[in-house]
């Protein structure tokens, strides 16, 4: 029974670790993209002035 528990914990541990890493990376990239878009828009405004 202990091996069954360890087996399931290992399986779900790997799945959730991957899911967690991907979700974090996604939110970091979304923030980065927003910042970049903001920077580009600000640059565009300055060059128009």
């Amino acid at each position: 029974m202990a091996y069954l528990l360890v087996g399931f914990l290992a399986l779900w541990g790997i799945t959730f670790a991957y899911l967690y890493v991907m979700a974090r990376r996604q939110s970091r990239l979304e923030r980065e993209l927003e910042l970049l878009r903001g920077e580009i828009a600000a640059r565009g405004d300055r060059s128009e002035e």
């Binding site: 029974m1 091996y3 069954l4 087996g7 290992a10 399986l11 790997i14 970049l36 580009i40």
Partner: protein, 212 residues
């Protein structure tokens, strides 16, 4: 994501509660439902990556390289799950974490091939060269997948054989639990693939904005 989660909960209920207990191994045999499903999804993910690499080499479109990377990475995750869960099951049933059985040996080779694939991608900086090299490597490395699948059919092995020319060699109640579990893992694979592809698209969008 919600569908994959609900399906996985049903698969857990089948594997832990509804499937009959195996007479010789007892409760630990229930690892089988997720061990086989993870390995199966590993094969499917690596097959998708193989096809995506073929498409990249014939069409040179970056989206196929992105799909090959996403699916190879998931294939690596599922193969890792299969090896880890199999090793825990082996310790309970065979009394050892690892033995150089043909299936286990080819699984280790498969795992190392795709670990190297991911390392190779990280080592080449020029995007077009990286995509081309990775696609060629993926086509060559995929040979290990059918070899791993057939290992217990071609050579004498301690690893059990569930599916052969005569069909499934398990009780009907176990087969139902296995099929539900394979379905749940397939839904999980599709969910994770979509998430991984979204991350890939975000990275591409950031790179193209920076290049402006």
């Amino acid at each position: 994501m919600a569908l994959a989660g609900a399906w996985m909960a049903v698969a857990l209920a089948f594997a832990l509660l509804l499937a009959p207990t195996e007479a010789v191994m007892g409760a630990v045999q229930r690892i089988f439902y997720f061990h086989v499903s993870a390995s199966w999804c590993g094969y499917v993910a690596l097959l998708v990556a193989f096809i995506a690499s073929l498409l990249y080499l014939s069409r040179r479109e970056a989206r196929w390289d992105g799909l090959a990377l996403a699916s190879s990475e998931l294939g690596w995750v599922f193969i890792t799950q299969g090896i880890v869960s199999g090793s825990i099951w082996a310790k309970a049933v065979w009394g050892t974490w690892w033995t150089w059985d043909p299936r286990l040996t080819t699984s280790a080779v498969l795992w190392m091939i795709y670990t190297s694939y991911l390392l190779l991608r990280g080592a080449v900086l020029e995007p077009n060269l990286r995509a081309r090299l990775a696609a060629i490597y993926n086509l060559a490395g995929f040979v290990a997948v059918p070899l791993n699948f057939m290992a217990i059919r071609w050579w004498r092995a301690a690893h059990p054989l569930v599916l052969d020319g005569g069909g499934f060699r398990i009780a009907p109640g176990m087969l139902t639990a296995l099929l539900v579990s394979v379905g749940a893992f397939s839904a999980l694979y599709v969910t994770l693939l979509l998430l991984r592809l979204r991350v890939e698209r975000l990275q591409d969008a950031i790179q193209s904005l920076r290049a402006r």
